[in-house]
C-alpha cells in the first residue's frame, strides 16, 4: 500500500463541501454514541441475545455508504448497527428493535443482528456468517436483470471469507458480470480467532479474488478519504463495466466479538486495543483532519458529539416508552399471502398449532 499518498486529493474527495465533510463526522459520532448507549442498556438487562458492537469500525460504513446513490444497495452481516444508521435509519427504530419493541425497525422480531430498511436500500442484517454474500450477488443480479445501473455493497468479516457461500458468490459475480462490491471489513479477528489462525492467504484476504479474475484492492480503514477513494473506484467499475470488486478494509473492533464475549481481552492484548484507540481511531483522526483543514474547530466537534449523545439518549427513552408487540404478532409476517389476505393466503392451512 502507498502509505504516503494523500487520498484527500482523490477527485471524489476534492469535490466534498465542508458541510459534507462535517456530516461524515456527525454520522460516525452518531454510530459511536448510539452503540455506547445500547451497551449501557444491554448491561442493565434491557435487551436479550447478542449485541455486536461496531465501535472502531465506523469509517467503513460511513465512508462507503457516503458514495451510495439511488441505485446502490447495501447488505451486511450481524454487526449491522453502523450500516443501519449510515443509510439513514433512525436511532429510535434501531434502539427500539434492540429492546424488542413493536416500534423497532423489524417490529421487535429480528433483534440486533437483523435490522432492515428496504426503503433505504438496506437489506440487512444477517446472522449466519457469509449468508448475506450470495444475497449481495443476487441484488446485483436483480439490478442488472432489470436494466438498472447500480451496485450492491456487500459487507463481510475477515472470518466470513472462509465460507463456501462467499466463494460461490465470487465465481457467480465474475461469471455473470455482476455489479457487486464485496467489502471485507478486516478487524483482525473472527470471534477469538486471529486472521492468521483462520485463513490461508498469500499477501492479503482480498487477493483470493484473483483466482476468480475479480479486481481487488486494500484500504486503510482509519482514513475516511482512503476508504472513499477506493470504494469509489469499485462502484464506478460496477456502474460502468458491470464488474464485481473485492475491497478489503483494515479496521479494528474495540469491544469483544459481542458483549457476551468473556475472553475479549485474552486473545488480544490490552496494549493492542489501546494502540488502536490512541493512534488509529477513525473518528478522532477524521475530527483532527477537519480541524487541520480548518473545516471545524474543537468547539464545533464537541457540539456535534454532544448532539449525537443526546439523540442516543432520546432513543433509549423512546425504546423504554414503546410497547412490546402483542402476542398475536408472533404469527404475523410469516407469509405475505396470509398477511395480505390474498386468495392464495386463503386456501389450505398455513399454521399448525391446535
Amino acid at each position: 500500500m502507498n502509505a504516503t499518498k494523500d487520498y484527500a486529493e482523490a477527485p471524489i474527495n476534492q469535490q466534498l463541501s465542508a458541510e459534507e465533510k462535517i456530516s461524515f463526522l456527525r454520522e460516525m459520532m452518531r454510530i459511536r454514541r448510539f452503540e455506547q448507549a445500547s451497551l449501557k442498556q444491554y448491561q442493565q438487562g434491557k435487551m436479550g441475545g447478542f449485541l455486536h458492537l461496531y465501535i472502531g469500525q465506523e469509517s467503513v460504513a460511513v465512508g462507503t455508504v457516503s458514495l451510495a446513490g439511488d441505485n446502490d444497495h447495501i447488505i451486511t452481516a450481524y454487526r449491522d448497527h453502523g450500516h443501519a444508521l449510515a443509510v439513514g435509519m433512525s436511532m429510535n427504530e434501531c434502539m427500539a428493535e434492540l429492546y424488542g419493541k413493536a416500534t423497532g425497525c423489524s417490529k421487535g422480531k429480528g433483534g440486533s443482528m437483523h435490522f432492515f430498511a428496504p426503503d433505504k436500500r438496506y437489506w440487512g442484517g444477517h446472522g449466519i456468517v457469509a449468508g448475506q454474500t450470495p444475497l449481495g450477488a443476487g441484488l446485483a443480479y436483480g439490478l442488472k436483470y432489470q436494466g438498472i445501473t447500480g451496485s450492491c455493497l456487500c459487507y463481510l468479516g475477515d472470518g466470513a471469507i472462509n465460507q463456501g457461500a462467499y466463494h460461490e458468490s465470487l465465481n457467480l459475480a465474475a461469471l455473470f458480470d455482476l455489479p457487486v462490491i464485496y467489502v471485507i471489513e478486516n478487524n483482525g479477528y473472527s470471534m477469538g480467532t486471529s486472521q492468521q489462525r483462520s485463513s490461508a492467504f498469500k499477501s492479503c484476504l482480498a487477493e483470493r479474488a484473483d483466482g476468480y479474475n475479480i479486481v481487488w484492492d486494500q484500504a486503510n480503514g482509519e482514513d475516511l478519504y482512503e476508504v472513499r477513494a477506493k470504494a469509489q473506484v469499485a462502484i464506478e467499475r460496477a456502474h460502468e463495466e458491470s464488474r464485481p470488486s473485492v475491497l478489503e478494509i483494515d479496521t479494528y473492533r474495540y469491544y469483544g466479538h459481542s458483549v457476551a464475549d468473556a475472553n475479549s481481552k485474552k486473545y488480544r492484548s490490552p496494549e493492542e486495543i489501546d494502540r488502536y484507540k490512541q493512534h488509529h481511531d477513525p473518528v478522532n483522526l477524521w475530527q483532527q483532519r477537519l480541524i487541520d483543514e480548518g473545516v471545524i474547530d474543537t468547539d464545533k466537534a464537541k457540539e456535534i458529539d454532544l448532539a449525537a449523545k443526546e439523540e442516543a439518549k432520546a432513543s433509549v427513552q423512546f425504546a423504554e416508552d414503546s410497547a412490546f408487540p402483542e402476542p398475536e404478532a408472533i404469527l404475523e409476517d410469516v407469509y405475505y399471502e396470509v398477511d395480505t389476505d390474498s386468495e392464495a393466503g386463503q386456501t389450505g392451512r398455513h399454521f399448525f398449532n391446535d
Binding site: G49, E97, G100, G131, G192, N263, F324, I330, L331
Partner: protein
Amino acid sequence: MRTITYRQALNEALAEELTRDENVVIMGEEVAEYNGAYKVTEGLLDRFGPKRVVDTPISEAGFIGMGIGASMLGVRPVMELMFWSFAYVAFDQMINNAGCVRYMSGGLIHCPIVVRGPANGGTNVGATHSHTPENFIANTPGLKVVCPATPYDAKGLMKTAIRDNDPVYVMENTLLYGESGDVPDEEYTIPLGVADVKREGSDLSIIGHGRAVITALQAAEVLEKEHQLSVEVVDLRSVRPLDEETILSSVRKTNRALLVDENKPFCAVSSHIAAVIQEKAFDYLDAPIARLNALDAPAIYSPPLEKIQLPNVDAVVKKALHVCS
C-alpha cells in the same frame, strides 16, 4: 454421586473418551484456544494438546465434511457446531454424505462421527440462531439423534454417541448448560434408544425430549400440588433410535398422553410420537392425544414474546388440564 452442571458433564464425557481412544478428536470453531463458545470444551486443549483439540475456520460445510471423510478411515471426530442452526450450511455433508454413504456403498463404509452443539430457542437470538432440527435429522434413516435433558443423561449419552459406529447428532441446549444434577463418580454409559421415566404417575403421561422434559417436570409439580393430578413424565432422551415400548407402556398405564415439544408442530418429533401411540395403543386412550409445540413461526427476538412462543409451564398445565377434563 456428585452434583455437576450439564456443561461439566459433557466436558467429562469428552475428556474421558479422548483419554480412552486416541482416534477421538474434537473439532470446531473456538473449541480449543477460546475453550468453547459455551465452554463445553474448557481445558481440553491444555490437557490433550492441539492434535486432539482443533480450532477450525468458519467453514461448516468444509470442516464437518472433513470430519465425515476422516471418520470413514476410522478417526472418530466429535465436531462442535457453535449453534446447531449453523448445520444448515453443512446439510449436504451431514445428510447426503454421513447419512447415505453406508447405504449407497452396500454397507462397505460407515461414519463413526458425532456432531454436537446447542439446538434450542429461548435465548433471544432470533430466527436464524434458534432452530431445533432433531425432527429433520430423525427423518433421515442412517442418522441417529439424541437430546439430553439432564447432566446425567448428557454425559452417558455423549460417551455412547462417541463409541457408536454410526453418525450420532447430539443436540444440547444453551439454557441447560448451567443446570446442575447428580452424576456418578464411576464411569457409565447410557444406551441410545432407551427412554427414561423421569417421574412416575397414573393420570397422564407427558412425553418429551430435551428442555421440554424439564418444563414438563415443573408442570407436573404444579399439576400435583394445585390440581391433584398424578403425572408421569417420559423423557425420550434418544429420538432415533426411539424407545417405543417405554412410551407405550406409560400410555397404557395412564390412558392419556400430552406431548410437549419445542419443535414447530408440522412433522415435529411429537407428530411421530402421536402416530406411534395411536397405531399401537389406541384402545388404551381415554382422550385424544394432545400436543404442545412451539408457536408456528420463525423464532421471534422480542424477549417476552419468545417466552410465549415456546412451551412453558403455564401452557403445559393448561393443556394437561384440558386432556384430563
